[in-house]
């Protein structure tokens, strides 16, 4: 019984993540459209897209890695999700979060990128390859402020466990966004890069590279990737909520906090033009990195 409950917990988490993920994405599409004075698609448009893709009659593939790539991607998304405590406490939505820590999350999050890159590479489409080249280069950019921010937090709380970091932020004043705003700034800028929204959307660069890495994907493959993307978006947001906003004790709180966080990249994305790859990299290596370093110094000084 207990086992059944646990397992159903897993699926519930995935379901929630998927739903929230596509809703948020739909929300962004609407928001963008409104700013551009369009009506925009319905909020559930992404779900429709995914359903359409999965139900397509036929799909083409260019070889083994086209199966492997999306599989890697979904693996990374779901594993990330499974190792993040979705809520502060309670039995549900904890999943495997006691079994791994932040360092693990850092790495498993990249796994999906690599998987997608491999899948894209197999297709032989030059646009995909260019996209991969840009995307991987950009990772090297934003991971630095991200790790700086995480390090600041881990050092401050003397733990690498997400649970303990959450537990330490027991009041609003204890939220890391207020305790260590510098780390938050560095982290959120890195988050901008992670979302691949403008100004950091050069890897996918619609209208320039077709759609970048997934150019040759269609049908079930693209469907799998989009599913994965929705789950991953939720996982990332939850991670940031846990890290900086003290986590959430129920799903609603989580939703609000996550939406608040999500608005930042979305709004910035609406109003900024696209960075070129090296501009993006250099941007990440400049201000966010300096801010991140300052945040660590701040932590060291506070201890």
């Amino acid at each position: 019984m207990e086992t059944l409950k646990t397992i159903s917990g897993y699926f519930a988490t995935i379901g929630v993540a998927f739903t929230v993920g596509f809703l948020f994405m739909g929300f962004r599409r609407i928001l963008t459209a409104r700013v551009q004075n369009r009506v925009g698609p319905p909020i559930y448009q992404n779900l429709l897209d995914i359903i359409k893709l999965w139900s397509k009659e036929s799909a083409i593939n260019h070889g083994l890695m086209q199966h492997m790539g999306p599989a890697f991607s979904i693996t990374a998304s779901v594993t990330t999700l499974m190792f993040i405590p979705v809520l502060r406490d309670g039995n549900w939505f904890q999943n495997f979060s006691f079994e791994g820590d932040l360092i693990f999350l850092l790495y498993i999050m990249v796994f999906g990128q690599l998987g997608m890159a491999l899948g894209a590479g197999q297709t032989g489409n030059p646009n995909s390859a260019i996209g991969v080249s840009r995307g991987l280069s950009q990772i090297v950019g934003y991971e630095i402020p991200f790790v700086l921010a995480l390090t600041a937090l881990m050092v401050y709380h003397e733990t690498t466990s997400l649970h303990e970091i959450m537990a330490a932020q027991d009041s609003i004043g204890g939220w890391n966004i207020f305790v260590n705003p510098l780390a938050f700034v560095a982290g959120i800028i890195a988050f901008l890069g992670m979302t691949h929204y403008t100004p950091f959307d050069v890897p996918f660069a619609p209208a320039e590279l077709a759609s970048g890495p997934p150019s040759e994907f269609g049908g079930k493959y693209l469907g799998m990737m989009m599913t994965s993307g929705s789950i991953f978006a939720f996982a990332k947001l939850t991670l940031f909520v846990n890290l900086f906003l003290g986590g959430a004790s129920n799903l609603l709180e989580l939703l609000v906090k996550a939406l608040a966080l999500y608005l930042i990249p979305v709004i910035i994305g609406i109003v900024t033009p696209r960075f070129r790859t090296e501009q993006a990299i250099l941007f990440f290596w400049k201000w966010p990195t300096i801010i991140g370093i300052l945040s660590i110094l701040w932590v060291v000084w506070m201890r």
Partner: protein, 615 residues
């Protein structure tokens, strides 16, 4: 002779080398049998190695051999890589010239590595060290052509390192009257701190050359790129680790008590960090697969040095774990690249492409290896990096964390370039008839090592057990609650459950893959990589649209300020200056006999004047 003794062990290792050389005159199968037998026998003998030490006198010095848990761990690495290496060599070297010479030197190198590890005194260590150096030099120049230059470069760097070691050894011997490491350590602490600093500094410098630590890494790219691929695997995987072995020995058996120990280790850790970062950037630039891997090796050795220098139990565990793992996955990569070279004759990333369907096993090997190299769970590489980051954070080296993380992330770039350029992208007509390499001699070593990365990723305890006894020997208190078979713990008490990890990853991956593969399988249509849509056009047969040349141009533009400077150029400049000095000096010998007479008279005048002046 006692078959559990070190003398017998070394006799087998060295004797096998010469026997193999002789057997070459009989038949090559006989030779191969001897070669394989030798390395497997010495690998097997490692398990039965007795504890007693063995001393002999040579040239007025007492040489002592014996095993320690620390050396046994490294010997395990050597054995683990030596067997696949010789196996891989059999087919690979069949096409090359002078195989007898190759096997002779290869076995000598392996035996000398064992010798280094089982040396209890500094002189025998040095002797085996030099034997290893010259035999590996001969292996490096095996191909001729550019390899000769690379080999000489390798040797000169090594010589600089080795003689730095010898310098210290001579002085230490003079101070303590003994060569035994423990005696040396005892008298070492009695010296004044500056002397200690100088001696340990030269020793560390010497060992770090072999480890390819910047700025003394200049030999590595050339030597790795030019040596025969099976040997390169051993070269990067095991041979360069001898430098790590020596550094660990110096830092924790000799130098630990010195007041300068901490600053020096701090410095070393930073050197390691900078090495890993800069070498990673260089690796991204490379267009030759072996050079890319060479820089990657330098970078990985940087991590190891970092962990080694920090000197916390966790960091030491990390260092030794990466030492093993790097050996394994780098050997896989060199094997795979060697396999590709064996079939296509190419290592140039700009020319190779689309081999995935032709050489699937090699592809799988590379895939496993790069996942391990990029520290991505669930393979072994992740465990090493996990330990390393935890230890870096917990020993308050926050900025090293960043440096390390930067190079770790940046390594995705080059590993992707490697696998993409060789195996992915559009297929080339040129490679249509390329076949996968033979199973027994070439696939098997690769797959076996791939299995190792997988197993160590889930059950690192298999490796951590010998590591912790090695560390206990070095004086690190490794308790049993610091690791378990498949669970990692940091010093803050956080844990990483690898079994949980593999279950989640495994389940999701298998499910995802199954769904993708079988869902509407009938409706899924395979098309070639030529059949793509690019702006509505389909490329013709002869066009290859793979985007592989200048793959990371934007990134290189961003990193240009760093990449435009070259440490190697500085070292080369020193070499050139010495050479020019030599050219200048030889003009002393003008060729005119009368000038020589002038020299004589001038010298006599000088002697007379100096003599009377002194009086």
């Amino acid at each position: 002779m006692d078959i559990t003794g070190i003398p017998f062990f070394l006799a087998v290792s060295f004797g096998g080398a010469f026997l193999a050389y002789l057997m070459n005159f009989a038949h090559r199968f006989l030779r191969n049998a001897v070669v394989l037998l030798t390395v497997s026998a010495s690998a097997a003998l490692l398990f039965w190695l007795g504890d007693e030490t063995f001393s002999m006198e040579m040239g007025g010095f007492v040489l002592t051999l014996g095993k320690t848990p620390y050396s046994l761990f490294f010997a395990g690495i050597v054995a683990l890589l030596a067997v696949p290496t010789v196996l891989f060599s059999f087919t690979y070297m069949a096409k090359e010239e002078r195989p007898a010479m190759y096997y002779l030197n290869l076995l000598i190198t392996i035996a000398a590595m064992y010798g280094i590890l089982f040396s209890l005194d500094l002189l025998s260590l040095f002797i085996f060290w030099e034997i290893m150096t010259w035999s590996s030099f001969l292996l490096t120049i095996h191909k001729g052509g550019n390899a000769t230059k690379a080999g000489v470069k390798y040797f000169l760097y090594s010589a600089a390192g080795a003689y730095a070691i010898l310098f210290s050894v001579v002085i230490l011997y003079n101070m303590s009257g003994s060569l035994l490491i423990e005696d040396v350590a005892r008298s070492f602490v009695l010296q004044n701190p500056l002397m200690q600093l100088m001696l340990a500094g030269t020793l560390l410098f010497g060992f770090s050359v072999k480890a390819g630590l910047m700025p003394m890494h200049g030999w590595a790219p050339d030597a790795y790129a030019e040596s025969p691929a099976p040997f390169t695997a051993l070269f990067s995987g095991a041979l360069s680790k001898m430098g790590i072995f020596g550094m660990g020995m110096v830092l924790y058996q000799i130098f630990l008590q010195s007041p300068f120990s901490l600053p020096v280790r701090e410095l070393l850790a930073w050197a390691g960090g900078i090495t890993s970062a800069l070498a990673t950037l260089r690796a991204i630039q490379q267009t030759d697969a072996k050079r890319l891997l060479a820089y990657s090796s330098v970078a990985q050795l940087g991590y190891i040095v970092m962990g080694l220098a920090l000197g916390t139990p966790l960091s030491m565990m990390a260092a030794l774990f990466i030492t093993l793992l790097h050996g394994v996955f780098k050997a896989m990569l060199f094997f795979a690249v060697g396999a590709v070279y064996f079939r296509t004759g190419l290592t140039d990333l700009n020319e190779l492409r689309g081999l995935i369907r032709r050489m699937p096993v090699s592809f799988l090997t590379v895939l496993m290896a790069i996942i391990s190299l990029a520290n991505i769970p669930p393979l072994g590489g992740f465990v090493g990096k996990w330990l390393l980051y935890e230890s870096l954070i917990q020993s308050d080296h926050y900025f090293l964390v960043i440096v390390a993380f930067f190079s770790s992330t940046a390594s995705f770039l080059y590993v992707y370039r490697l696998i993409f350029s060789i195996f992915l992208g559009q297929e080339e007509k040129e490679f249509e008839h390329v076949k996968e390499v033979p199973f027994l001699t070439m696939q098997l070593p690769m797959l076996a090592l791939a299995a190792v990365t997988f197993i160590t990723g889930i059950f690192p305890g298999i490796v951590l057990a010998p590591i912790s006894s090695a560390l206990t020997y070095l004086g690190f208190p490794i308790q049993h609650d610091m690791w378990s078979m498949s669970m990692l713990f940091n010093e803050w008490g956080n844990r990483m459950n690898l079994l949980a990890m593999i279950s989640v990853i495994g389940t999701v991956f298998l499910t995802g893959f199954t769904i993708l593969y079988f869902y509407r399988m009938r409706r899924t249509r395979y098309v070639t990589t030529k059949d793509i849509h690019t702006s509505g056009e389909v490329p013709t047969e002869n066009e290859n649209l793979t985007y592989a040349i200048n793959f990371y141009q934007p990134f290189e533009r961003a990193a240009h300020p760093v990449l435009s400077k070259s440490i190697r150029a500085w070292i080369d400049w020193i070499g050139r200056s010495v050479s020019e000095l030599g050219d200048f000096l030889r003009h002393i010998y003008t060729g005119d006999g009368q000038t020589y007479a002038w020299y004589v008279v001038l010298f006599l005048t000088f002697m007379l004047a100096a003599g009377s002046w002194i009086l």
